[in-house]
Point group: C2
Chain length 219, copies 2
DNA sequence: TTTAATATTTAGGTTTGCCTAAAAAATAAT
DNA sequence: ATTATTTTTTAGGCAAACCTAAATATTAAA
């Protein structure tokens, strides 16, 4: 029905529109898809002709209902496959994104739905991102990052904002995964770093770059 | 590494070269891939430039070692995914081919190998076709078809030559699946049809079209 | 407000994979 | 051995998705 490229564009635009009212800009889309702005302009025209998004020159773009639906279905598939790779095939959470980028384009509603129930209808993917159900509904994240937490607060890791293999491997090395318990012991004004106790054992300093990319739930 | 199209061409040529010494012809490839002969000529030139096959104008084509390797790896993925869909997700054997045609192009050696062991290193796919191991080795079929069997011989269904949904659904209706036991009771010279007893119960007449498409093992 | 910087679009071109129509080669029939 | 038929290739073109370079809009700075 839709090409890989179209689905990737819609997914990128959906992501970039989260929160912001103005929609996604050409440059932002180009950067996210690792392509050039000129190519994006081309594609926006085509997607607009297919009524998947609203495009007025020099303004940003916003997805139509149809465009949004396709984007969310693709996200659903992506995250379900990530769960499959981790839960069933024993992949690490830093290895799954690349493969899921391919698997998310497989077209078979039956496959997606069967996979969903085979996995036990998971609500979150290995990075803590919510998985849309077959109707496209899924919860908005409670966007608290570790950075925002006060001294002496205890938190549970619920997700990662940056899902790059580099970041995930570093977290692995620190012993920080989904569900890990963190105790904020000190906040350094100078560089935004935080001293935390991980799972009641090791004591570590986390840079601001790390703290801003960890979603947590206050205990 | 290789495009979907390239993999599909190599797979088709590999299939068409089974048995025949002369390699695959342009028209045969076009028919199998549901494309036009002119397009095939185009592509053969490109694949030849990439040393994936040997192409001399107006002669047929034969895969090089490299081309054969890619073809077999694609077949391996295709058949493993078919097993996954049937064994784990409960698909019918007539539904899996179409989806496997997409999944076979996912590029991740780790995924393929993990899937293989997750499935218990199956030797045959849901249609009885042998699955290449990770080195590309797999047994040649013992190509006995039901048609060749004598009266009073007892056989076990081991595979299907035609894997179209139409044929598979018809077999399903007849109660014939992999492992079914057939007893040849009569052979009709006139139209090549055979009267058989299926699993020691029902008595049915199978047309020649059915008999030539069933691989069996003599008991 | 005029100028400078940045963002976006247009123009023109490439590659991949496909098509139809026409030419050429190979094979079959007379 | 010609002639007819079939198979295959070539020629010319098209759509998707990308590119660079140049033009135009928008936004920020002076
Ligand atoms: Mn991912
Ligand atoms: Mn994820
Ligand atoms: Mn198949
Ligand atoms: Mn099969």
């Amino acid at each position: 029905m839709y090409t890989f490229t179209e689905e990737n564009y819609l997914k990128a635009i959906h992501f970039l529109s989260q929160g912001s009212e103005k929609g996604a800009t050409t440059n932002a889309i180009a950067e996210r898809l690792e392509t050039k702005a000129a190519s994006v302009s081309d594609m926006l025209k085509k997607l607009s002709d297919k009524d998947l998004l609203i495009y007025k020159k020099y303004q940003g773009v916003k997805l139509t209902a149809k465009g949004k639906e396709i984007a969310i279905k693709t996200v659903r598939k992506h995250r379900l496959w990530e769960v499959f790779l981790v839960d069933k095939l024993g992949f690490g959470w830093e290895e799954v994104h690349e493969v899921a980028e391919q698997l998310e384009h497989i077209q078979s509603v039956k496959l997606t739905d069967r996979l969903d129930s085979y996995l036990g209808n998971p609500k979150y993917d290995p990075h803590g991102d919510p998985i849309p159900d077959d109707a496209g509904n899924f919860p908005k994240r409670t966007e608290t990052t570790l950075e925002e937490c006060e001294i002496n607060s205890e938190v549970i890791i619920r997700g990662v904002k940056d899902t790059s293999p580099e970041f995930l491997r570093y977290l692995e090395k620190l012993g920080i995964g989904l569900g890990a318990k963190l105790m904020v012991e000190e906040k350094e004004e100078f560089d935004g770093s935080m001293r935390v106790k991980i799972n009641s054992t090791s004591d570590t300093s986390l840079s601001a770059a790390v703290c801003t990319n960890l979603f947590v739930k206050q205990l």
